[in-house]
Amino acid sequence: MLMQKRGQPVTLAAQLLSWCLVGLLMAAVFSFAFSQLKYGWNWAAIWEYRQKFINGWLVTVAISAAALLLSLLIGLLTALAQRSSVLPLRYLAVLYVEAVRGTPLLVQILIFFYVVASAFGLNNRYVAGALTLSLFAGAYLSEMIRAGIESIRGSQRESARAIGLTQLQTYRYVIYPQVVRQLIPPLTGQFASIIKDSSLLSIIAVGEFTLNAQEVNAFTYSTLESYLPLAVGYLLLTLPISLVSRILERRFHFAT
């Protein structure tokens, strides 16, 4: 009864039972691992620093939200630039996308903060951090948006022309709604990525979630008690996003 036959719906009982089995298995693995650890748990010390965790978590949410909005703008502009007939503009956008997608975020954070930002007198590490994250995510979004625009068939533009829509109306009523619908699922996934990637900003001492957990660890020498809440805190953000992404994907799905 725990098998899904091809094309058949899964019963609620089968779902629940299967999830319980998975939960049990994970519990067994981890309780075995932790029991081997012979570790003196000290949750009391961590509890003292709960406000620090909350503050760090909020900073992560704020930086990620700012980076998402900004990366969306960067992605949109560079996607249009990649399609521009002005060659230097197009090549600049292509170079940006390829350079960012081809290098690790860690390297970008270090170079942007210690070289570019300081050269231009930008000393606020929070702003610099959010900017780096936006530039990083913007390159990926740029490719998604470009692919979205290019996936609208030429025959649809032709059809729009034949019924008498203007160029602007064609973008407004034909291309734009389809690109947005296609974009929503990957966009939610990108938001989850931004949240996780923001942890790397701890290396330039941005006081986000991970940095705060590291500090608590340094104060209390309670490594696991510091990092387990960290994992839970990130899951609290990314699991709902991934759920929403699945729902949206189903809702906006239509074959073309």
Partner: protein, 243 residues
């Protein structure tokens, strides 16, 4: 309606597609354009539809010479109904929304009135049950019929069909051709490019045979199909009617 071509030329790159087409087509209600693939019939049709600008030459539709400015072509496209061979509909809109879009956004009809117009036409073409489905949920024949409804909903001066059934299987082809025959019986002026010679003969009162970028023969369909004069047309008909 009447058509007059005057020295129309069109090249794609180095390849001439229409070579100095000049002809005055006498009064007709339904005109079929036939000929071998690559002969220029679709380009000529697209020129009549205001989708293609000729490199030179003039075109008269009814009483008016068509000005080939973007402005005039847009107004022209808005006054006629065009149905292509496939993929006419927008995939993110339901059948009803597809029909309402040009009415509301291009012709400024109030939403309620546009809906009534669309509903009445859906009812007439047995599409009412599919009004709220997206194109992907419809058969090819149903999609083409929705496209036809969209084209006639705006009360066009005339209709243009560019191989409307070439992407369909025989059963669906019949369903779409019935629909076009019905529009003709209503007295709507129409111009059709088709590979279906039997249908071209039945539905049209005049016919153009186009090959090698030129109109090689023009005449009343009944006569043209039973007694073609130009050797290329004789040859063409012999080939397509062999099976």
């Amino acid at each position: 309606m009447q058509l007059e071509f005057c020295g129309i030329c069109k090249q794609f790159g180095a390849r001439p597609v229409l070579r100095d087409i000049s002809l005055k087509v006498p009064e007709f209600q339904s005109l079929a354009i036939v000929g071998p693939s690559g002969g220029g019939k679709t380009t000529l049709l697209r020129t009549i539809a205001g989708l293609e600008k000729p490199d030179s030459g003039r075109l008269r539709i009814g009483q008016d010479w068509l000005a080939f400015t973007e402005q005039a072509l847009l107004a022209h496209r808005r006054s006629i109904g065009t149905v292509f061979q496939g993929y006419n509909l927008f995939p993110h809109l339901t059948a009803l929304e597809n029909v309402m879009l040009p009415l509301v956004k291009v012709h400024g009809v109030a939403r309620g009135q546009a809906r009534d117009t669309a509903d009445a036409l859906f009812k007439r073409f047995q599409l009412l049950a599919h009004a709220h489905q997206r194109p992907a949920e419809l058969s090819g024949g149903q999609q083409q019929r929705v496209a036809i409804v969209r084209a006639i909903a705006i009360e066009p001066r005339f209709l243009i069909f560019d191989e409307p059934t070439s992407a369909l299987d025989p059963e669906m082809t019949a369903e779409v051709l019935d629909c076009i025959a019905e529009l003709r019986a209503e007295g709507r002026p129409l111009i059709i490019v088709t590979h279906n010679m039997g249908f071209a003969r039945e539905v049209s009162d005049r016919c153009l045979f186009i090959a090698e970028g030129q109109i090689l023969e023009e005449g009343r369909s009944a006569e043209l199909f039973s007694a073609p004069q130009h050797p290329l047309m004789v040859n063409f008909l012999a080939k397509v009617l062999r099976y």
